[in-house]
């Protein structure tokens, strides 16, 4: 089982994801340079950060990196792709996931813990979680205000594509618990096929006890369990 962490110019959580997969979970992990047009991995991580400074719109320029063509092919072949924060934004810009990100409702960048409710635990990324489980995971973003057309939202809900929603510590999805104004308190969605996940919160930041929380582990553990079951390789 091999993980690949894509490095775009301006990625800054690449090393963090790499560290967690390699040193915390002991999995073979490689960096994939944005100019690379081939790789041999089982799961791709599009990490957080500010690819190309996020200078036009978050993720807008990165989606044209040579590597993204291959990421699209990989995902079409069923390979697992997880985009975290900026990685999520890139997936949206690339059209691998529906919708777009707006500025946070508060305008400000926000970095703090949030609670997520697992809405769908039948995905490669959440199979180790319980449905309705509440996870405490930090966010750090200025543009995480998820938006899509009403029809798209309906479809997302109907298909179980909404994987995580912002909630309070008791698991209630409320307006107060929504840190950025996201539609339907959406914190993470998956594609129709179920192999591409985008989420704003950072599971790699809470996968070790010393950092004050381990709720992020369940996502990595789910991916590992899924891949261990010998599911298809992209």
């Amino acid at each position: 089982m091999r993980f690949g962490v894509v490095v775009f110019p301006g990625s800054n959580c690449d090393a963090d994801c790499f560290h967690v997969l390699k040193n915390v979970f002991g999995r073979e992990t490689v960096y994939i340079w944005h100019k690379d047009d081939s790789f041999d991995v089982d799961c791709i991580v599009l990490p957080g950060g500010f690819s190309y400074g996020d200078y036009l719109r978050a993720g807008a320029i990165a989606r044209f990196s040579p590597v993204m063509k291959k990421v699209v092919e990989f995902s079409e072949a069923g390979g697992l792709v997880i985009g975290i924060c900026n990685g999520f934004q890139i997936l949206l810009e690339a059209g691998l996931l529906p919708g777009a990100m707006l500025r946070n409702k508060s305008i400000n960048f926000r970095c703090h813990d949030v609670y997520l409710r697992v809405e769908n635990n039948e995905t490669p990324f959440t199979n180790k979680a319980l449905k309705g489980q509440v996870l405490k995971i930090p966010i750090a973003h200025g543009e995480g205000n998820y938006y899509c057309e009403p029809d798209t939202l309906k479809r997302l809900i109907a298909n179980g594509q909404v994987v995580f929603r912002y909630c309070n510590s008791r698991g209630e999805v409320t307006e107060d618990a929504n840190p950025n104004g996201s539609l339907y308190n959406i914190a993470g969605i998956i594609n129709e096929k179920g192999n591409v996940l985008g989420m704003m919160p950072h599971p790699e930041r809470c996968s070790e006890k010393i950092l004050g929380g381990e709720d992020g582990r369940v996502i990595w553990e789910s991916i590992i369990a899924y891949l261990e079951r010998g599911a298809n390789r992209g």
């Binding site: 320029i61 707006l102 305008i107 205000n145």
Partner: protein, 81 residues
């Protein structure tokens, strides 16, 4: 050399948090008459070439591909020699 100006705006109906924030600040400064604020981008390109028609086509392509995200934004292009 031609100058192309691209205006990128949020589609009507898409929430504009930045516009809201500006409106509130304007109210706080006493400009109560401002009822709505929308913030878009104004992108100026210097483009080589003489055929303004063709340039406009190309810039529209650029806007469609990169400069605007058509899920949430619309754009207009204007070119002058």
């Amino acid at each position: 050399m031609a100058i192309a100006r691209v205006i990128v705006e949020l589609k009507p109906g898409v929430l504009d948090p930045q516009g809201e924030a500006i409106k509130n600040s304007l109210h706080a400064l006493g400009y109560e008459e401002v009822k709505k604020v929308r913030v878009g981008k104004f992108i100026t390109l210097e483009v080589e070439g003489n055929d303004l028609k063709e340039i406009e086509e190309r810039v529209k392509e650029m806007a469609d591909k990169l400069l605007a995200n058509v899920v949430i934004e619309k754009f207009s292009v204007q070119v002058e020699g």
